[in-house]
């Protein structure tokens, strides 16, 4: 194992997959010599040349559409969209074209491509550079959606995403880029569609993903001090969703809290709560609780006030435990 930063792990995955597969290429704004706005594509131009590392104009629809057309012809594009907030700029290409390519053409053409985009707040980047929009994409059949929390997952999932025959939206978290974690020295893959139990526990299941994994683990420590043993499930993928992992945990704990950074209403927590309320309500010993952002755009200077945090999770668990 080696200590590696999240952004570096992503960069390693790109290096390795480009070396492994001649059909992989990189496309996006400032991905060439500058190495990407956050450094994700650093060194790729030097290593693989201009043919495979393509700096583009500021034309997100063209970039993403180009990736689709190239994928239909057998290449494996990895697109970088600088902020996940810009995905709406090229939403038609993602949702009406890429997600539906295999379906619309009856499998004659497919779209094996990856779109990387950093979401989330934490840098005081304001309402148009801080959103968590994953719930939208999880609602769209034809896409796979992944949101890694750790450097190890970021690398292993990105490698899997590039090898996947379906289009994968790879949602990074910009506030995690600078964080570090241990990753294997040797080559490895993390399968898409498998959650990870970050902490085992018996009293309550907390389902989370991306940056909120850390707040959840912090909350779990606090809770442990209070005698509550929380199990923390990091979803890692939203599509496919690892229902089994969630169900198995709730079966054990009989209590469920879901925590995410996105706006709570109509967020991904709703789907998880709904699934349990449909299929496992009888095992629940308490109401489900969701932790998410209030119904507001992300404020610039008041992020601390706005963002859900470990205390919010602790409070939600306390509510569920004392029910």
């Amino acid at each position: 194992m080696k200590e590696t930063r999240y952004i570096k792990a992503i960069n390693e995955a790109l290096h390795e997959e480009m070396a492994r597969d001649e059909t992989v290429f990189i496309i996006g704004e400032d991905v060439g010599a500058p190495g990407g706005a956050f450094g994700g594509t650093r060194g790729l131009l030097q290593a693989f040349g201009e043919r495979r590392v393509r700096d583009t104009p500021i034309s997100e629809s063209a970039i993403v559409g180009l990736a689709l057309g190239a994928a239909m012809k057998g290449l494996r594009p990895v697109v970088e969209i600088m902020f996940a907030d810009f995905l709406p700029v090229c939403m038609d290409q993602i949702v009406n074209q890429i997600a539906k390519t295999r379906f619309m053409f009856g499998g004659q053409f497919t779209a094996p491509l990856v779109i990387r985009a950093p979401g989330g707040a934490g840098l005081n980047a304001g309402p148009q550079h801080s959103q968590s929009l994953e719930a939208w994409f999880a609602h769209i059949p034809g896409l796979k959606v992944v949101m890694p929390a750790t450097p190890a997952d970021a690398k292993g999932l990105l490698k899997s995403a590039i090898r996947d025959d379906d289009p994968v939206l790879f949602l990074e978290h910009k506030a995690l880029y600078a964080t570090s974690g241990a990753i294997p020295e040797e080559e490895y893959l993390v399968p898409i569609g498998k959650a990870d139990v970050r902490r085992t526990g018996r009293d309550v299941t907390i389902v989370t993903a991306s940056r909120m994994v850390y707040q959840t683990l912090e909350a779990a420590e606090t809770l442990a001090g209070q005698g509550t043993d929380a199990e923390v499930i990091d979803l890692r993928s939203l599509t496919p969703l690892d229902k089994d992992a969630i169900f198995k945990s709730v079966e054990k704990t009989s209590r469920l809290v879901i925590a995410h950074e996105a706006v709570k209403s109509f967020g991904i927590g709703a789907e998880i709560a709904a699934m349990i309320s449909e299929e496992m309500i009888d095992v629940l010993d308490a109401p489900i609780a969701r932790v998410g952002a209030p119904f507001s755009p992300v404020p610039f200077s008041q992020e601390g006030d706005y963002l859900p945090n470990a205390s919010d999770i602790v409070r939600a668990v306390e509510k569920v435990m004392t029910y």
């Binding site: 290429f25 043919r51 393509r54 583009t56 104009p57 034309s59 629809s61 063209a62 970039i63 993403v64 559409g65 180009l66 990736a67 689709l68 057309g69 190239a70 994928a71 239909m72 012809k73 057998g74 290449l75 594009p77 038609d92 290409q93 009406n96 074209q97 390519t101 295999r102 379906f103 619309m104 053409f105 009856g106 499998g107 004659q108 053409f109 497919t110 059949p141 034809g142 796979k144 996947d164 025959d165 379906d166």
Partner: protein
């Protein structure tokens, strides 16, 4: 199938008619693939006439958009392409798709929504595609094919192949942001891509002067550093000539061209459109220009064909179409839940 006498070899019967320089010498002197052009145009016309008929009989679900009157564009453009080349088309894509060489049976079965359609009946008229024939798909979102076509052209260059891509779009579509982004990127990267603007003067129920101030869309090419050419889209030879030059440029690695083909929309926006918005005389004027009748006159006048020969082609086409319709109508609907198999790999 009853192709013109000088048909292409069996192996490429699915392919687009080839440009003359690659075609075998024919029986008729000076035949620069003329009979194949005629065949292709007439095939599109007869298919769409038949589609209008079966649609009006309620046999086709959803809605369809025909390109009758615009056959010279589809044919002239696709006559310069090989099966290794790719096209992307629009909601009004039957003509392009057939001219590119798609087989009629999977085409028809798709429009009928049958399980044996090219897209398993998932899509219908608006999304017909054929990987075999190099048809990257019709598209229901105006302007959305343009960015996708970039990728196809990019892949040719990336792989070092000399194949090219052509993307069809309407005059209306030329006001979508995707047009702009795609033109700029294609010019910048010298992509082997031909932007074929099929300017039929209408976007749905609105005529061109209501949505743009300029009348020639080719004028926009200059703002990207790309050549822009306007041809008479009702003259298949002019279209072919314009396209040949553009394809040669693209194959030689010299980048994209915007080829504007001016033509007329003979029918409504969709089959069944009552066209109340359309001035009566506009329709009349429009129908005066018939690319097929004109071309037949030319063929007969130059002694390249006689009426009987052309009628035989027509009869052959009708038989082929009957067969494809029968095939589609006899085909079973998709089995329950089948569509779910096409969502993921």
């Amino acid at each position: 199938m009853n192709k013109p006498q000088k048909s292409t070899p069996a192996a490429s019967s699915k392919a687009a008619p080839k440009p003359s320089n690659t075609a075998a010498a024919g029986a008729i002197p000076n035949d620069d693939g003329f009979l194949e052009l005629h065949y292709s145009m007439l095939r599109v016309r007869r298919v769409e006439e038949r589609l209008l008929q079966v649609f009006s009989e309620g046999k086709i679900p959803g809605f369809i958009h025909v390109s009758i009157g615009q056959e010279a564009v589809a044919t002239g453009v696709c006559s310069c392409l090989t099966p290794a080349d790719t096209i992307f088309t629009t909601h009004r894509g039957h003509g392009h798709t057939l001219a590119k060489g798609m087989e009629l049976k999977p085409f028809m079965a798709e429009i009928y929504g049958r399980a044996n359609g090219a897209c398993h009946g998932n899509s219908g008229s608006m999304h017909v595609a054929s990987s075999e024939a190099g048809v990257g798909g019709a598209n229901g979102i105006v302007g959305a094919g343009l960015p996708i076509s970039l990728g196809s052209a990019f892949a040719s260059a990336f792989k070092g192949e000399d194949s090219v891509t052509a993307v069809f779009f309407g005059d209306g579509a030329s006001n979508q942001g995707t047009f702009h982004e795609s033109m700029n990127l294609a010019a910048l990267w010298n992509l082997p891509l031909i932007f074929v603007c099929e300017n039929n003067g209408w976007a749905q129920f609105t005529s061109q002067k209501s949505y743009m101030k300029i009348d020639s869309i080719a004028r926009r090419a200059e703002g990207y550093g790309m050549p822009g050419v306007t041809v008479d889209g009702d003259d298949v030879l002019q279209v072919r000539e314009g396209m040949r030059a553009a394809v040669a440029r693209a194959r030689a690695g010299n980048g994209p061209t915007l080829l504007e083909c001016k033509t007329y929309r003979w029918f409504g926006h969709y089959a069944g459109d009552p066209q109340k918005y359309r001035p009566a005389n506009d329709l009349e004027q429009t129908r005066k220009v018939d690319c097929i009748a004109n071309f037949e006159k030319f063929l007969i006048g130059s002694g390249l064909a006689d009426r009987g020969q052309l009628d035989a082609v027509d009869a052959g086409l009708r038989a082929e179409i009957d067969e494809a319709i029968a095939h589609a109508e006899a085909a079973p609907a998709a089995p329950r839940g089948q569509f779910l198999n096409d969502v993921y790999a």
